[in-house]
């Protein structure tokens, strides 16, 4: 391994190099309205290995708007640490000017105005241009997909992920790991994986019956690139059978399995790996903790929690890269690997501005081919957004307010519960809402909108349980989503308290009365992990609601009071 003295030099060089790699530069240039593709892609090749990381695309084939969160609270050791820094604090931390393209890409403020100025972001054909440009400089660059790729759109749902498989095969990744892919059902996942022309990795994907590594997924894959023997280890989302319906993939068990991770790192080092890369869907805080426990990993390409960071985070001798979601960003990491160890790195988080980066024509054709059979359904206008519709944030988002309103009115309920997922593009004020847009925030394989009764006491248990999945001070006990979105009920949360004591002042908004632990309330929700959940699919519920409203204009949501942030 690298000596402490060498690594200090690496760190110093790296912090200088990050500035030189153009992040600060392009924000200034762009403020002058001279942002070009060349500037976005500008990168002085470094060392002998290039990694290209993309993750959590959630089937967004076409450019979208995507607003980053305002509220993203860190707890325990991560209080106030990245990625739990947002808005003006984030811009100050990274030297980003207000109103610049970087401010638009990475923070939430003035989102609607900046979106009108800088346009949509992402799109697989633009991503292809970025990847091709890097490969033109570094033909043997490794392209690594962090997962949550075959999920999240109308076409992905109707083709059971085939549209994304076809398009990603066109992009030619070298390896991939997994999360929502498994909600296609294990038979479908096994089918697709058997035919993938690249490695399907997950050191923590185990056979549930035997508690042994699952045969269909290798723990790691070796690559020879730039004269360097590279091991890429995969880590799938650890809590799939808990956060998602385990009955859809009963043969598999997951978990963090950090001891097994250490075994895998030792095994690949023993086989001569000079560079160990972890392609992870752990979530940022889990990866950060793991980097401090497992020794010998050089680079962790993080995913799952959808954070985008313009600079790597260093934990000991490991660098953590966070590349955002929904196709907004591509990370390029150049590494100097000599004498069997990482001697230095240069990194750039490339924002995929759809109006600046030219689409790759071959990829545009491939994307359009997937969408053609569904074009009429996708483009049908259902209503209009009267306000910015977004999802990200720990407690609520205006898109979720619309979904909760739909559940309350269409399912005749007193209280609505909507899952705190982090995927789903944003819609600008005045923009048409198409069927594709509704599916962008609802598409999943367990969409049934249930209607049931719950006691006030049980509601409290549900709220406490979800809050602990988000605010447990130990990242290994977190699942990585956001708080369940609630319609019709307000509450207070103290994020610093233990489970059972975080939630208080639960109030039924329609009457203003405190929730009675003994009373039954009519609750509507969706995305239940229980098998046999009945009800219409959530996209039909939302479509019907928006049709009746014409224009949906959610007002500021003040129903959640947060303490301890």
């Amino acid at each position: 391994m690298i000596s402490r003295r060498d690594f200090m030099q690496v760190s110093m060089a790296a912090s200088a190099l990050v500035g030189a790699s153009g992040f600060g530069n392009w924000s200034r240039l762009a403020a002058q309205q001279r942002l070009t593709q060349d500037q976005l892609l500008q990168f002085d090749s470094f060392g002998n290995v290039s990694l290209i990381h993309i993750t959590d695309i959630h089937a967004q084939l076409k450019p979208v708007y995507f607003r980053e969160p305002e509220i993203n609270i860190g707890v325990g050791p991560n209080r106030g640490e990245v990625p739990h820094v947002t808005g003006a604090d984030f811009r100050k931390m990274y030297g980003i000017e207000d109103g610049s393209p970087a401010a638009y890409a990475l923070t939430y403020n003035d989102f609607s105005a900046l979106a009108a100025e800088y346009g949509r972001i992402g799109g697989l054909d633009r991503i292809a241009t970025v990847v091709n440009a890097i490969r033109a400089e570094r033909p043997d660059a490794l392209l690594l997909d962090g997962g949550d790729t075959w999920h999240g759109s109308y076409t992905c749902h109707h083709t059971a992920g085939q549209d994304m498989v076809n398009v990603m095969n066109g992009l030619k990744p070298d390896a991939m790991t997994f999360h929502w892919e498994f909600t296609l059902g294990s038979d479908r996942v096994k089918d697709i994986v058997a035919g993938l022309p690249f490695a399907a990795l997950g050191q923590n994907i185990f056979d549930a019956e035997w508690d042994e590594p699952a045969e269909a997924f290798a723990p790691y894959q070796f690559f020879e690139r730039g004269g360097v023997k590279i091991a890429v280890i995969g880590q799938a989302f650890p809590y799939m059978p808990i956060a998602n319906p385990g009955w859809m993939f009963p043969e598999y068990s997951f978990g963090i399995r950090d001891a097994h991770m250490q075994q895998m790192v030792d095994e690949v080092r023993g086989q001569g790996a000079e560079l160990v890369v972890l392609l992870s869907h752990n979530g940022f805080d889990v990866d950060k903790k793991m980097a401090g426990i497992v020794s010998g990993i050089d680079v962790i390409l993080t995913g799952h929690t959808h954070d985008a960071l313009p600079e790597p985070v260093l934990v000991g001798e490991t660098i953590l890269i966070a590349s955002g979601s929904n196709g907004k960003f591509v990370s390029r990491v150049d590494l100097d690997v000599r004498d069997g160890r990482m001697m230095g790195f240069r990194h750039k988080l490339i924002p995929v501005f759809a109006d600046v980066i030219a689409p790759d024509p071959a990829m545009t054709a491939l994307v359009d081919e997937q969408r053609a059979p569904f074009q009429a359904e996708l483009s049908e206008v259902i209503g209009t957004a009267g306000a910015l519709l977004y999802r990200r944030g720990n407690f609520n988002g205006s898109w979720d307010d619309v979904i909760c309103d739909a559940l309350l009115s269409e399912r005749d309920a007193e209280i609505a519960l909507s899952p705190g997922v982090r995927w789903g593009p944003s819609i600008l004020p005045g923009q048409d809402i198409t069927r594709e847009d509704i599916w962008g925030v609802t598409a999943m394989s367990y969409p049934n909108a249930y209607r049931t009764e719950m006691t006030g006491e049980f509601l409290k248990v549900v709220m406490e349980d979800v809050a602990d999945n988000l605010f447990n001070p130990d990242p290994f006990y977190q699942q990585g989503g956001d708080m369940v979105r609630v319609g019709g009920m307000g509450y207070r949360i103290d994020v610093t308290k233990p489970q059972g004591d975080r939630i208080s002042e639960m109030t039924l908004l329609s009457s203003g009365e405190a929730i009675d632990p003994a009373r039954n309330y009519v609750v509507a929700g969706w995305a239940s992990v229980n098998e046999g959940t009945e009800g219409p699919p959530i996209w039909d519920v939302v479509e019907s609601h928006i049709r009746k409203q014409g224009t949906v204009s959610p007002t500021e949501n003040t129903s959640v009071t947060v303490a301890g942030a």
């Binding site: 006491e457 699942q479 992990v529």
Partner: protein, 139 residues
């Protein structure tokens, strides 16, 4: 005794509820069981490892593994279960390794404790919190 449909529903929800509440360890019972195993001897922290998930995928069957090189016996307790004793593994002098794995049922979020009697007769203790959760909502 007759129950109305509504009361029965409420009871069902109540029953589900109890299974999700974090279980408080019955400290006195657990302490007695440990004292019985160790004879009241001091316990170190090195020498025994317990491998278990942080969050159980299914609280009814949680895979765990204990290992203590050179040990003659390992006691496993689920501190929050109504009946805390889970297993006591004894290893004879010809045992190839002092490792055992099994699956246990957990009534709720709680600490699982493993105590080993090591080769020199001393005792070592370790524990891990295993969370049992309702699930859902992962992003």
């Amino acid at each position: 005794m007759n129950f109305t449909r509504r009361e029965t529903m409420a009871m069902a929800v109540g029953a589900a509820l109890t299974s999700f509440l974090p279980f408080r360890a019955n400290a006195a019972v657990v302490d007695d069981l440990i004292a019985e195993f160790t004879g009241g001897a001091e316990m170190g922290e090195e020498g025994v490892t317990l491998t278990a998930p942080e969050i159980a995928e299914n609280g009814n069957t949680v895979p765990i593994e204990v290992s203590a090189p050179g040990a003659s016996a390992i006691l496993i307790l689920a501190a929050g279960n109504p009946t805390p004793p889970v297993a006591e593994f004894k290893f004879g002098p010809l045992a190839g390794s002092q490792t055992a794995s099994t699956r246990i049922r957990l009534a709720g979020t709680q600490d699982v404790i493993a105590i080993a009697q090591l080769g020199d007769g001393s005792f070592a203790r370790t524990s891990k919190t295993i969370k049992v959760t309702i699930g859902g909502c992962g992003g």
